[in-house]
Structure formats: C-alpha cells, structure tokens
C-alpha cells in the first residue's frame, strides 16, 4: 500500500514543484515590474546587477543547504563557516600565498569542516541541530578571538574572483550561480548518488532496504555542502575591497529561507535547487525593493521571517492535502 502510494506520488510532486518554480519566476518578474512602476530607478541596470551580483553567493550556498535539507537534516553553522572561510582565504592572499592556493584553501577547509559535522551526525547519530548549533558557536567565537574582528585590507587585485567577467561581459558570480544550480539540479535528478539524497530524506528505512547507505549519503551531502559554502565564501570575500573578519550576521537564516521558500520541504525528501536559486534572487530583490519603496531596511528581517513562515505552512498544508486526496 505504501509502495503504491509512493509510486503515484512522484509525478504529483513533480507537478507541484514545477508550479512552485514557475510561481517563483513569476514572483521575481512581477515584483520587478511592480516596484519599477512605483520607482523606475529600481529597474536601472546598475541596481538589478547589484541585486544579482551582490547576492549570488547566497544562491550558491543555498544549493548546498537545499541538499542538506532534502536529506532530512539542517545546518545552522553555514553562515559562520562562510565568515571563517572568507577570512582564511583573505589572510592567505594578503600574506603572499599564490591566489590559487588562497582560493583552494577556502574550498578544502569548507569540505573538511562540513564533512566532520556530517560524520558526527551520520555515524555518531547526534541530531544535526545540536552539532551545527555547537559548531556555529565554535566558529563564531573562534573567528572573533583569533582575528580580534580586524578587517583584512590590501588584498591583491587578482584575488577578487567576483570581479572577473567572462568574455568581458558575463559577471563570474552570476555565471557561477547559474552553472552550479544547473549542474546540481541535473545531478540530483538523474544520477544514482543524487537520487539517494531524496531516498534518504524521504524514507530512511526504505532507502536502507534498497541498499543505500544512509550515513555515507549524509556525509557526502555535508561534504558537498562544504564545497558550495567554500565557493560562496570566495564570492563573498572578493566582492568588496576589504574582508570584515567577523561572521556575517544571520547569513544562515537567509540561506535557509532561500531553500525553504524555494520549495525544499523541511520534512525532507522533496525540493529542487532551481527553486532555491530563484528564491535567493527573490529574497535579494525584496530587500532591494523595500529600499526603493521607502520602507525602512530595519523591516527586512521581519519580511524574511514572515516569508519562511508562510511558505512552510503552505508546504505542510499542501502535503497534507496531497496525502488526503
């Protein structure tokens, strides 16, 4: 009976998700037009590219976060990790390490920290919330006590990955955001290891019976998440001339919001990275729109919280209706 239910489900889920992504795309365009009518300066190329360029790193990190949430876990340490990785990379660059080494260090350190958390979660079976909450405070406290919150300046010009324009016109952060999203989406949909994430998050027991190793899948997901966090840290570190050696406040919340609003079900097993990237763009757009319609930026976080709340409740109600039908 459950098998028949599971067999009928994916097609339905697919339809629902397609509509979620279409809905997000419409929201992104609709909001741009609406705010543009109120204040045409919002649609200036400069503002739109600021919205995309300045926030591409959130979308890249949200790709990894989406995988983690689809696998039935959560990570609230990623914001702190991005701050740490940016500082590591910047410190190496300032101290004369080759630029490639500075870049690579962020990626390697990201994978190492996240894989360690994955091992603790998967093999020692400690809930992700406890492990990542603990890691959040370790990383945050560690970073401030090591650096004393000093800013890193005098970064070499070649370090600024986010400034690169491919073929002289395509900004690298946006290209990376789109590329990472497409590759991750294809991998998650068509490869065995990608499908395993859905299996583990959807029904761990069934996945085990199908011969999928749950611990191994979770460690893989967290390691990948660390890789994306490393890439996000590089974009974050290189879009300004300085690196503030502190943890960007509430970054993890923005990243989780992007995943959840993008249609990744918090109950695990459902969601796509295309949705989370669209949601990341939408959230950045909303933050910018508030400024252009003369709402105080102090309300941004309340809007973000309300957005998560509404999406989560809608997701649960929709699932319940699907289960009932």
């Amino acid at each position: 009976m459950t098998l028949a239910g599971a067999g009928a489900d994916p097609r339905r889920r697919l339809k629902v998700l397609a509509s979620q992504e279409a809905l997000l795309a419409i929201a992104v365009i609709g909001l741009a037009i609406a705010v543009g009518l109120y204040n045409p300066r919002f649609l200036a190329a400069r503002n739109l590219s600021d919205v995309l360029l300045g926030n591409a790193y959130i979308a890249v990190a949200a790709v990894g976060m989406s995988m983690v949430i689809v696998s039935g876990n959560i990570d609230i340490s990623v914001g702190a990790l991005i701050g740490v990785l940016a500082t590591i990379s910047g410190t190496l660059a300032v101290n004369g390490a080759p630029i490639l080494v500075a870049w690579l260090a962020a990626l390697v350190a990201g994978v190492a920290v996240m894989a360690l958390q994955g091992v603790i979660i998967a093999y020692l079976r400690i809930p992700a919330i406890v492990v990542t909450l603990g890691m959040l405070s370790i990383l945050k406290g560690g970073l401030i006590s090591v650096t004393g919150g000093k800013w890193i300046t005098d970064l070499p010009d070649s370090f600024h990955l986010a400034d690169i324009e491919l073929f002289g016109m395509l900004p690298f952060p946006v290209v990376l955001m789109i590329l990472v999203t497409i590759l991750a989406a294809l991998w998650m949909r068509y490869s065995a290891s990608g499908r395993a994430i859905y299996a583990v998050g959807g029904n761990a027991e069934a996945a085990r019976l199908c011969g999928i190793s749950q611990p191994r899948t979770i460690v893989m997901v967290f390691a990948l998440h660390g890789l994306f966090a490393g890439a996000a840290a590089l974009l974050y570190a290189t879009q300004l001339r300085v690196i503030q050696s502190t943890v960007p406040p509430n970054l993890e919340l923005t990243i989780i919001t992007a995943s959840v609003v993008g249609g990744v079900s918090i109950l695990g097993g459902v969601g796509t990275v295309v949705g989370s990237t669209l949601a990341a763009v939408l959230i950045a757009e909303i933050a910018s729109a508030l400024v252009f319609i003369d709402v105080s930026p102090y309300w941004i976080r309340a809007v973000q919280g309300a957005l998560i709340l509404v999406t989560v409740i809608a997701d649960i109600l929709r699932r319940r209706r699907m289960a009932g039908a």
């Binding site: 809930p127 405070s137 560690g142 102090y298 919280g305």
Partner: protein, 330 residues
C-alpha cells in the same frame, strides 16, 4: 508475551532511565565541584561569595528561559526563538512606555503578554499545522527579531524610573533580587515536572507521542502550554535584563538560545525527548556560568568562551547518547 515484545522501547526506558539519570547528574555535580575548586585555585577572586552571587545575577536571564526549555525538550521539541522573543519583549516594554505613554507597570504586563502570545503562536502552529518545532522556531527567530528591529528602528529607550531597577540591580536579604525570582521559578517548575500529572505527561509525550495520544493524554494542549510558558518566561527574562542594564535595544537576547539549550542538554535532558530533570538544568546552568566566569577571570576573552560552550554542547550530547546506547544495548 507477544504484545509485550512489540513495545520493547518504553519497557527498557522505564527500567534504565532512573539509573542513568542518577549517574549523569552525580557525574555532573562532581565535575562542577572539581571545576569550582580548580577555578578557585587558579584565581583567588573566583571563590568569593560576592563573585558567586554576582554570577547568579548574571545567569538569571538565561535561567528563567532554560526552565521551560527543559519542558519543551523533554517533549521532544525545541524553541530557537527565545532570544528573539527577549528582544521583542524588551523593545515593546520600552516602546509602549515611552511612545504609547503606558504607565510602566502596564508596559511590563503588556510586554509579558506579548511574550506569552509569541510563544502561543509557536505552539499553535506546531500543534495545529504540525510544522516541526525546529523549523517553526527558526522562522519566528527571524520574524520576532525582525519585528523588534522594525519597531525600534535602532533607537534605544532609557531613563526608566528608579523603582524599576530594583529587580535587576538591588539585593533582597543580601541576595540579588532576581535570584529570588529564579529560585521560585526553579522550585515551581521542579514540582510541576516531578509531582504533577502535567509534568509526567511531558515525559509520556517525549517517549512516545502516539502512545501518549492513544492513552487519552491532552498532547496538543500540553504542548501549547509549554510553548506559551516559554514565551512568557522569555518576556520575564527581558524585563529582568532591561532592569539590569537600564536600556532597551533590539539586539537584546541574541544567542540566548545557544546558552539555554546548552544548559539544558548539558544538564542531562535528552535532545531526543523523554528524559530530563530541572535539577540537571540548574547544574548545567551553573556549569556554564562558572565556566564563562572562570575563563574570564583567568584572562580568556568573552568570544573564546562561546567556543567552549559550543564544544561542551557537542561533547556532552556525544557522551550522553553513547551512554544511553550502551545501556540500551545491554
């Protein structure tokens, strides 16, 4: 016989828990004692009555929230929004007094009821819509903090009347005033948890929610009450905090959820639900505050102490869960 073998978990749990709990708390108390002596030997300002009472003063705000959090975690839930509720209540206390012109006692009641309402909303959505507590309270962590920031627009409120500072700064019978408040709350929650049907229901929910439901226990109502209580206590904590630091800012209570959860988990309450005591939480609170204070006195900066708390949180969960698994394996 076969009926019994179908429900092995609660059977084992019943047999094992008291033994394990006793061990965990004795262990913790011994560690606390060693830490006290060790820190006292390292620094002669540590083991003075003045210092210890002052540490009690500082731990009250987190302590008031840790008590209902123990209830919540025993039911298998979690509340990450408590720090944001503290911020929201603090802002509303100052805002309603200064801008709406409420008399201060009314402003205090208003702020407390907003805290309770914030917790009630958490509980309502968790029980009615069945949103997992973790996600619900992550959402309201952002929402409540956002409301605090939006309402305050980064303006602080100060200049409260003199009597308001009593609870945060004065002594009553030689003991910090707010410590009496914490003491009353500890005794009350300990009695509720240990001696009332309500308290026992929390364990039943945490051990097996479905079984609790089928036994006719009012699971949803009990959960609603504990989340509301958590919000109310966060509001109370906000009032004590404002009274102690004499000003109101929207970033108050940031990171409280970490300290609170660390204290509860360190005190032996299982994050999986069904296990835990108020006594354990009190020892956990004392451990964390003394650790912070001891490290600060030996010259470690404030930011490094949160590294220690994070490590302690992960390690204590590791030890607790491996002990539990070993017992269940026997």
């Amino acid at each position: 016989m076969s009926a019994m073998s179908e429900i092995p978990l609660p059977q084992i749990a019943k047999r094992v828990m008291p033994w394990w709990l006793l061990r965990h708390e004795t262990m913790l108390a011994v560690i606390l004692l060693i830490a006290l002596i060790g820190l006292g030997a390292l620094n002669n300002r540590f083991l003075t009555l003045d210092n210890l009472l002052n540490q009690g003063r500082l731990t009250t705000e987190v302590g008031l929230i840790a008590l209902p959090m123990t209830f919540i975690i025993i039911t298998g839930g979690i509340d990450l929004s408590v720090g944001s509720i503290v911020g929201l209540c603090a802002i509303l206390l100052g805002y309603s007094w200064k801008t709406f012109g409420f008399p201060l006692p009314l402003a205090i009641c208003f702020s407390l009821s907003v805290g309770a309402a914030a917790g009630f909303v958490n509980g309502l959505v968790i029980t009615k819509v069945k949103v997992p507590p973790l996600i619900m309270t992550i959402a309201t962590l952002a929402l409540y903090r956002g409301l605090a920031e939006g309402i305050s627009q980064a303006r602080s409120v100060r200049g409260y009347p003199e009597w308001f500072y009593f609870i945060g700064q004065e002594n009553l019978f030689g003991v910090p005033a707010q410590l009496w408040l914490l003491l009353i709350a500890i005794v009350a929650t300990a009695i509720v948890l240990d001696r009332t049907t309500f308290g026992r229901t929390l364990y039943a929910i945490g051990n097996n929610e479905t079984a609790a439901r089928f036994s006719g226990l009012p699971v949803d109502r009990v959960k609603l009450i504990v989340y509301t209580l958590s919000g109310l206590m966060a509001g109370l904590s906000a009032c004590v905090l404002v009274s102690r630091v004499t000003t109101t800012r929207s970033d108050m209570g940031i990171g409280y959820e970490l300290d609170v959860i660390a204290a509860v988990v360190l005190g032996g309450t299982s994050i999986f639900g069904g296990v835990g005591t108020i006594w354990g939480t009190v020892v956990g609170l004392a451990m964390i505050q003394l650790l912070k204070n001891g490290l600060a006195l030996t010259g470690v900066k404030g930011d490094a102490t949160i590294v220690v708390i994070g490590t302690v949180l992960i390690l204590s969960t590791l030890v607790a869960s491996s002990l539990q698994r070993r017992r269940e394996g026997v």
